[in-house]
């Protein structure tokens, strides 16, 4: 195997990772700063974490965001898996080009476009059907599902394409109806893709500002909206503390997910041998 130039490799990766991690590390360090001026160090303190604990606006928003993210993750996996299955297994059908476009466009389209268009849909629907009467958790939920569905569909379809179809064919040959094959054979085989899709949807939802801004109503402010309205005014040590907690949770989550996936892979390779 050809080895790349070692020095160049280490330098390049070193610079790239410094760039990726310095902002995150600085956030964490300054969350323990006693001074209100975030960038001036004046001693170690946990007071911003205490302030976080008493901030009712923030806690309410966090609870709402958690609810929306859970709802979004489950429904995105449901619809996304369905759409991914259609992409991978249905071959060519009438309108397949439009279908592909509808799946891949939300991956890149600026969120402001999706936000305003969904809002207008809900307003028109409210006028015509009387539903949804008011913007709130349901409209945010649907908006977030639209952000995530395409990602889940792409993950699922690539997993399905890379899969050996003989197991499904065997079940069909033995007389299982397609629906049963899907739930008993296909779904367990793609479970890893479903978990990745779920985690990605949860993360995208709990972090979303733009779509939520368009689709939230009075009394339904999500956590990122509160954070955004505060950091817009500049630095805020409480937000550093919140960010640190967030980073901690994500890091633990990613480490666990990675560990589980690696051990699953190891198990699979030992079984294959």
């Amino acid at each position: 195997m050809i080895k790349p130039n070692r020095g160049l490799q280490v330098t390049t990766l070193g610079i790239a990772f410094l760039f990726l991690y310095i902002p995150i590390i600085s956030l964490v360090v300054y969350s323990f700063n006693a001074s209100k001026l975030v960038t001036v160090w004046s001693g170690f303190s946990l007071k911003w974490y205490a302030a976080l604990w008493q901030d009712d606006e923030l806690i309410d928003a966090a609870v709402l965001s958690l609810k929306v993210a859970l709802m979004t993750a489950f429904s995105s996996v449901l619809i996304g898996t369905w759409a991914g299955f259609v992409l991978a297994r249905m071959g060519r059908f009438r309108g397949v080009t439009l279908f592909n476009g509808l799946i891949s466009a939300p991956l890149v389209i600026p969120e402001v476009i999706q936000g305003i268009s969904l809002l207008l849909l809900f307003v028109e629907m409210g006028n015509l059907l009387g539903w949804p009467g008011e913007r709130g958790i349901v409209t945010i939920w649907i908006g977030h599902v639209m952000l995530c569905v395409s990602f889940v569909a792409i993950i699922v379809q690539s997993r399905l394409r890379g899969m050996d179809p003989s197991l499904e064919e065997a079940a069909l040959d033995l007389g299982a109806i397609p629906l049963r094959v899907f739930f008993w054979i296909t779904l367990p085989l793609i479970s890893q893709a479903l978990i990745s899709g779920w985690l990605l949807s949860f993360t995208l939802s709990i972090d979303d500002v733009v779509t939520s801004a368009f689709l939230s109503g009075p009394g339904s402010t999500t956590l990122p909206l509160v954070v955004f309205s505060r950091v817009r005014l500049g630095l805020n040590p409480e937000m550093n503390a919140l960010a640190t907690l967030f980073i901690l949770v994500v890091t633990i989550g990613v480490l666990i997910a990675n560990h589980v996936m690696l051990s699953a892979e190891r198990k699979r390779t030992t079984l294959a041998v």
Partner: protein, 301 residues
């Protein structure tokens, strides 16, 4: 293989397709048509804050289309400047993402398999932490009394702080930082599955490493480069959060202009017209992206 599976389930087939299709049509396609429709309405007081295009009065059906917003888009140089600026900022950000992202993806792909996974996890970890928080982190670094300026001044390299926060430079930094993983991921996926025997053959035939890179690695990763660049460029054009948090009052970007029309002026029809123009602008890159997306789907088949 697919033919066998599909032949065995003809009855449910259309139903299976219809489910997600209808969902996407209702929540993605129809909303666009509504944006187009409302861009021809006029602002009015009340709920909804725009006029109806069709109304029936005394048994007569009236169609009223207002072209004023589009005329205004053409006349007011603010919008045109915002479009140009958005494209410029997105293009420069994409370029710098590529400059940083390509070598990173390249060297990660050339590491040993165990290191590779660890490094990719390292690239992904910031991507999983909140986007908003990562943009916010740069405020603390770029401010006049922030980390970067303090570091440079304490080293004696500069005496007066660099004005970075609330400038276009801060927007570029924020964009490159936020979108970098989107470029590294597809590039890495292409580079890691590259057949190394091709490079070995080139070396055996006497090619210099640089030449082998330009003649073999670069062309083979072309699709990854294009996919990655589009994945950065298209959302960057309509970016709102980064210019709002890091940019100055004069950092004009189209997403921001649209946001202000909508939330500050509550001029929904004007915001819709700006959105339509933005979609029009992004149509070509989006079709390109779709093309490469399909190509990649066919490759994995």
């Amino acid at each position: 293989m697919t033919s066998l599976l599909t032949r065995l389930r003809p009855s449910g087939r259309s139903l299976v397709i219809a489910g997600p299709y209808l969902w996407l049509l209702l929540f993605f396609f129809v909303p666009f048509l509504l944006v187009l429709k409302i861009s021809f309405a006029d602002q009015q007081m009340g709920i909804p804050p725009y006029t109806a295009l069709i109304d029936i009065k005394d048994g007569v059906v009236n169609f009223t289309f207002y072209l004023t917003h589009y005329a205004f888009l053409m006349q007011d140089s603010l919008y045109f400047a915002a479009y140009l600026n958005s494209i410029k900022i997105a293009a420069i950000s994409t370029f710098f993402c590529l400059i940083i992202g390509y070598p990173t993806a390249y060297y990660i792909a050339r590491s040993s398999p165990a290191t590779r996974n660890l490094l990719m996890m390292g690239v992904m970890l910031p991507f999983w932490t909140s986007f908003l928080i990562r943009v916010y982190a740069w405020i603390g670094i770029l401010k006049n009394n922030g980390l970067l300026n303090s570091a440079l001044m304490s080293m004696g390299l500069i005496h007066t702080p660099f004005e970075l926060y609330h400038t276009n430079i801060a927007v570029y930094i924020g964009m490159v930082y936020s979108y970098l993983p989107f470029l590294i991921m597809p590039l890495y996926a292409h580079l890691v599955k590259m057949d190394m025997a091709l490079l070995e053959a080139a070396y055996d035939l006497g090619a210099k490493p640089w030449k082998a890179f330009v003649k073999i690695t670069l062309p083979l990763s072309k699709n990854g480069i294009i996919a990655g660049c589009l994945l950065v460029f298209i959302p960057a054009v309509g970016e709102y959060v980064i210019p709002e948090l890091l940019g100055g009052a004069n950092t004009l970007m189209i997403g921001r202009v649209m946001w202000d029309e909508f939330f500050s002026n509550t001029d929904w029809p004007m915001a819709s017209a700006v959105t339509c123009a933005m979609v029009l602008l992004l149509l070509v890159p989006m079709v390109l992206f779709q093309h490469f997306q399909n190509k990649q789907m066919d490759e994995t088949r």
